[in-house]
Structure formats: C-alpha cells, structure tokens
C-alpha cells in the first residue's frame, strides 16, 4: 500500500452526495425567501416570528456547506448501500401505486384506490398472484375503512363501494332495531 493510493481514494467527488448538499442549500434559500415574506408587526420587533427562521436558515447553510465539503472529499454513503444495486423496477411500481392512489382516491373512493395501490405495490415487490392480491387488498382496505374509519371516527373519502356497504349496514341496523 503506497501513500498515493491512500490519498487518491478519498479525494474522488461523490455526485449523489454533492446533489444532496446542493439540494439542501436550495432548501436554505427557500427558507430565506419565505422568511422575508413573513410580515413583521412593529409590536414584536424584539423577538418576532422571523428570528427562529433566520437562525434555522443560517444553520442549514452551514450544514449544507459541510455536506458539500464531505461530498468533494469522497462522500459518506455506507459501502453496503453503495454496493447494493437499486431495483428501479420494484421502486417504479411502488411509485406508480402511490400516484394511482393519489389520483383515484377522490373519484373512486378510498377502498377502490387502495386495492389498485395494493396490487401494484405487491407486483413491484415480486408477487405473481395478482388475483389473490386483489382479494387480499379488498379485505384489508375494507378492514381499514370499517375498523379505522368507523371505530376511530375518522372520515375517509367514501366512494361507490363504501356507500353500498354503508347502506347495507345501516339497513341491517334499522332491521335489527325494527
């Protein structure tokens, strides 16, 4: 082991880490922009609502510069993470599932959107039995909806499926009472 080897290895620029540092610096910029937008009443001129945002901004600038410096010196990502190749296909399906949920939850209601997300995420994670996943997703979404929403009193967007089932349950309750 020669000394030149030892010095060459850590001085390589780490691009992903550099991007993180720059991204954080941009965040600090956004914080500064939003802090300037805070209207300050003269009544609170001593320690107003802007003092902490400014302190946070300074902190973020210093930290992002330190991160950029670390990136220039070769980055910090653990070896184990670097060596594991990213499974883009699996991640892609999870992201598509999340976006589908976001777009469909209002038009179709929680249960239907959840089933679609469930199936897509399962497929991304390598499940090949799609039909079984549809059934599992439906059971889980309904359990979440009725167990969570009705028991905790949380209002989750109801769609076609929920409305039908709610109507059935209400009719059943009326029948029991009557």
């Amino acid at each position: 082991m020669s000394t030149s080897d030892q010095q060459a290895a850590p001085s390589r620029l780490a691009v992903p880490e550099l991007l993180i540092g720059i991204g954080l610096l941009a965040c600090a910029g956004a914080v500064a922009w939003q802090t300037l937008a805070i209207p300050v009443s003269p009544l609170y001129s001593k320690v107003g609502p802007t003092v902490f945002p400014y302190l946070t901004m300074v902190g973020l600038v210093v930290l992002s510069l330190l991160l950029i410096l670390a990136a220039l010196r070769g980055g910090w990502q653990p070896e184990e993470e670097k060596e594991t190749p990213t499974d883009w296909k699996a991640m892609g399906f999870v992201v598509i599932g999340l976006i589908a949920n976001l777009l469909l939850i209002q038009p179709l209601g929680f249960t239907a959107a959840s089933v679609i997300m469930f199936v897509l995420v399962c497929y991304g994670f390598g499940s090949k039995r799609t039909l079984r996943d549809v059934v599992l997703g439906l059971i889980l979404a309904l359990a979440a909806y009725f167990g969570f929403a009705r028991a905790l009193g949380v209002n989750i967007g109801a769609g076609f499926i929920e409305n039908q089932l709610n109507a059935v349950i209400d009719a059943f309750i009326t029948m029991l009472r009557g």
């Binding site: 991640m91 390598g126 905790l152």
Partner: protein, 507 residues
C-alpha cells in the same frame, strides 16, 4: 413514601376493566408491530393519534405506553429469529441472539430476553415512579431561559452525539425545525413557510411526517434493495425454559443492563443504542464464556442488552413526563398526543394530572406482566407473524398510511406532502441520515422557540439571560462539549499519533 401512595392510587386507575383492556390491546398491538419489520412504535402511535379525540387521556396513554413497551419485547423476537432487527434498539440483540438461534438455542435466547425485559422494565418503571417527583422539584426552578438551554442540550445529544455523523444528525434536526415552523405562528398569528397555500396554514401534521418518513420511506427503501438478499427465519428450537446454568448466567447481566439503561435513558439524551452497546461490551468483558461470543452465541450478550434496552425505554419517560422533553421519535409523538388533549407535560403535570401520570406508570407495571406472558407461552403466534410475505406486508403498510393521512382532512394535498416526505425518508435511509431527529425537531422546535421568545421578552431583548443564569450556562456548556468535544478529542488523538516526539511523558 409519598410515591407509594400515589402509585397505589395509580393502580386504582389502571385496574379498572376498561383500562386493563386498553393495556392488553396496546401490549398485543405493540408486540405485533415490534415483531413485524418495517413497523415501529412511533409510526403506530402516530397512526392511532386520532383516538385522542374519542377516549379519555388515561385510556389513550395506557394504550400508547403498551405499544411502546410491547414493541421493545416484539423487536427482540425478530432480532433473534430473523437477524433483521425489528427496532433500532434491538440491533445488539441480533448479534448474539441470532447466533444462539442458529445453534439451536433460540428458545433460551427468547426466554432470557423476555424475562430480562420484564426484570429491567419493572426496575425502570420503578425508577420512573421514584425519580419523576425528584426531577419535578428540581424543574420547578426552571425559567424560560433554562428550558431553552435544556432543549438545546437535548437537540445536540439526540442529533449530534448519537449516530454516525453529527453533521447529518443536525441536518435532520434542522429539517425538522423547518417542517415544525410551517403554519401560523402561535404568538403573532403570522403565517410562516406556507408558500401562499391555505392548506399549509395549519402546519404539517405530525402523523403525516411520521407516516411519510417511517412508512412510505421505509417501503420505498425496501423496494429499492430487493437485490440485497433476504434473511432466513431460523426455526424455533430449544426449550423455552432456561436451565439452572442459563438462569445463573442471565440474572447478573439483567441487573447490570437495567443499571446502565435506566440512567442513560432518563438523561435528556435518550436513545437505546448507547446503553445496549455499552451493556454488550461489558458483558463480553465479564463473561466466563468468551469463546461463545461471536460463535455459537452467548446468553449474556442477549440478556444484558435486552435489559438495557427496556430500562432505557422506561427512562425516556422521565424527561418526557417531568420536563415535556421527548428524546426519541416515539416520545415526541406521545408529546403531541398530550398537546392534542390540551395538556402541557412539564413539572406541573404530576400535580395537575395526577390520575393520568400515576395511572400511566401503574399501567406500565401491568403491561410488563402481560408482555412477559404474551412473549413466552404465546411466542408461536408471533413467529407465525414473521412469515407474512414482504409484498403484502409493505402494500398493507401503505394502505394504513393512506388511512392515517387522508383521514386527517380528506385533502389530496396531504397525500402529496406524505409522498414528498416519503421520498425524503428514502434518501435519508440510502445516505445514512437519522430520521428520529426530524420528528423531535418538528415537535420540540416550536416549543424551544416559545421558550426562547418568552425568555427574551422577560429580559427585554437582552441575550445575556442565557449565559448569566448559572444553570442555563451549565446546560449550554454541556451542549457545546457534546458538539465539539468528540472533534477536539479526535484532533488531539490525531496530533498525538502523528508526532511521536510529542508522546506524553516524553517532554
């Protein structure tokens, strides 16, 4: 002896049939989520926060405390049988526990960890009961300046001292500050960091932050590394009854682990990593069976860290209940549950909410008893839970993430924020940023700001309050040592090694 009276009263609160049921529900749920990789107590309690609108504070805190303790028990099962730590606090348990399971002594490993958790958890809970009133007497003298300095100390310890890098820990903390500041400033009514969006006026709910970082981020992370290979579940072998020799080798590590874990947990630093690693190192040093460490698995290496883990989990409740100072993500979310009831944890909590605090402490004793039963005779049930395949597990986690988030205000904007935080959580996992400081910064940041502004108002804008008050100065000095100390130490070591002519004693 006053404490015993309070405790007796606490048991009368906790022993009502309804509260016992909440305790049973919490411990069962806690064990389950502790066993399941990818789910943790912080995420679970965040998802269950809406319950605070439905039931009395005693009931929901008994439930949350059960989940908190249960996750510690369940996490060790996963560590031992799967080698994937269910919780960060049980990383050390996996070292020896999984080796024991592989060499056919999984039963003994599970038994020593469950009984050790019980012993240390009970000692730790007693510690909470007796230490909390003492801390309260001390804390009553705190003014806003002291509170602010104490919070600075906690910020430094949770982000910079623990973990692999102080810069990355502090970055997480400051990101938490920014998220915490979004919304209307409570003292002046001015909107901050809302980017002109009315949806952001109420701020980012802690549920969204916790679910985004811990559920969505974790799912993306697990999806991204399917090539990393899977850990095999080691079939449970060996009797769950420990032999006399195993008892003999376990009881001292349990007590030592509790003695290490509780004080470290109770300090405004928190974190279970340091006490568990410390306990592991000590047991390795003291053991008469050193050859078993790292080979077939040594029972001392499971008993000590498991006890330390549970005792420190109990210790974390001391600063949380007496000072309103959360030092873990789970404690931070419990603090927001207090806020949801309009209760401010602090030195007055023990007197104004005596029923709640003592009922909670009493229920922790009960939870420990329930947990040791749940985790020994019923262990087979939890092992079955480990067999849930990853695709359905993570897809299911996302369904519950949606329920928890969308249920807040039925706003798709909340889902967008959730996914953005999920993406951030994924990057943080990939690039070794700790996530707990984000949650702590988000909850504790606004409280620190309030104390800061209060102190500055009282002093008429004079900054010197923070260093002329003796206690405040001490706390800030400790924070500075925590931040700069390791660097100065490393610098001195570096100098000493580089210059052989400066060897101490050579002068």
């Amino acid at each position: 002896m006053e404490t015993l009276g309070h405790l007796a009263h606490g048991f009368s609160v906790a022993f009502t049939p309804v509260n016992l049921l909440w305790c049973l529900l919490g411990t069962t749920l806690g064990t389950a989520i502790g066993v399941l990789p990818g789910l943790g107590p912080a995420l679970t309690i965040a998802l269950l926060l809406p319950i605070t609108y439905q039931v009395a504070p005693e009931a929901s805190f008994i439930l949350f405390a059960g989940i908190y303790y249960g996750a510690m028990y369940g996490g060790s099962t996963t560590s031992i049988l799967l080698n994937t730590p269910g919780e960060s606090a049980t990383i050390v348990t996996a070292l020896e526990g999984n080796r024991m399971a592989r060499s056919g002594r999984g039963g003994a490993a599970l038994a020593t960890s469950a009984i050790g958790s019980f012993v240390a958890g009970t000692i730790g809970t007693m510690g909470v009961a007796f230490l909390a009133p003492v801390v309260v007497k001390f804390a009553l003298a705190f003014g806003p300046a002291e509170y602010f300095s104490l919070m600075v100390l906690a910020f430094i310890t949770v982000s910079a001292v623990l973990g692999s890098s102080s810069v990355r820990g502090l970055t997480s903390l400051f990101a938490g500050f920014v998220i915490g500041m979004i919304g209307v400033d409570l003292q002046t009514g001015q909107p901050r960091f809302t980017f002109g969006m009315t949806e952001l006026l109420d701020g980012v709910d802690v549920i969204i932050a916790a679910v985004g970082l811990f559920a969505v981020g974790e799912t993306l992370y697990m999806a991204s590394r399917r090539y990393a290979g899977k850990d095999e579940i080691v079939p449970l072998k060996g009797s769950l009854y420990m032999t006399a020799a195993e008892w003999g080798r376990s009881w001292k590590p349990w007590l030592r682990g509790a003695a290490i874990g509780f004080p470290i947990g109770a300090m405004p630093a928190g974190g279970a990593e340091i006490p568990t690693f410390l306990s592991y190192a000590i047991e390795k040093k003291l053991s008469k069976h050193k050859q078993e460490f790292g080979t077939v698995g040594a029972i001392e290496g499971v008993a000590g860290p498991e006890a330390a883990n549970n005792a420190s989990a109990a210790g974390v409740l001391v600063p949380m209940l007496t000072l309103g100072l959360p030092t873990s993500a789970t404690a931070a979310i419990m603090l927001s549950a207090f806020q949801s009831y309009g209760i401010n944890p602090g030195p007055l909590l023990l007197t104004t909410q005596g029923d709640l605090v003592w009922g909670l402490i009493a229920s922790l004793f009960i939870a420990n008893v329930i947990l040791v039963i749940l985790n020994l005779p019923l262990i087979g049930l939890w092992v079955r839970l480990l067999k849930i395949p990853a695709p359905q597990l993570y897809a299911g986690i996302l369904v519950f993430a949606t329920v928890g988030t969308y249920g807040i205000s039925q706003s798709p904007i909340d889902l967008v924020i959730l996914y953005l935080l999920g993406a951030a959580g994924f990057l943080m996992r990939r690039f070794d940023f700790p996530t707990a400081p984000v949650i702590i910064g988000m909850i504790l940041g606004p409280l620190a700001e309030t104390q800061f502004r209060r102190a500055m108002t009282i002093s008429n804008g004079d900054w010197s309050v923070f260093y002329t008050h003796k206690l405040s100065l001490t706390l800030l000095t400790l924070a500075f040592i925590g931040l700069a100390g390791p660097h100065i130490w490393a610098f001195i070591e570096h100098r000493r090694r580089r210059g052989p002519e400066h060897v101490p004693g050579d002068a």
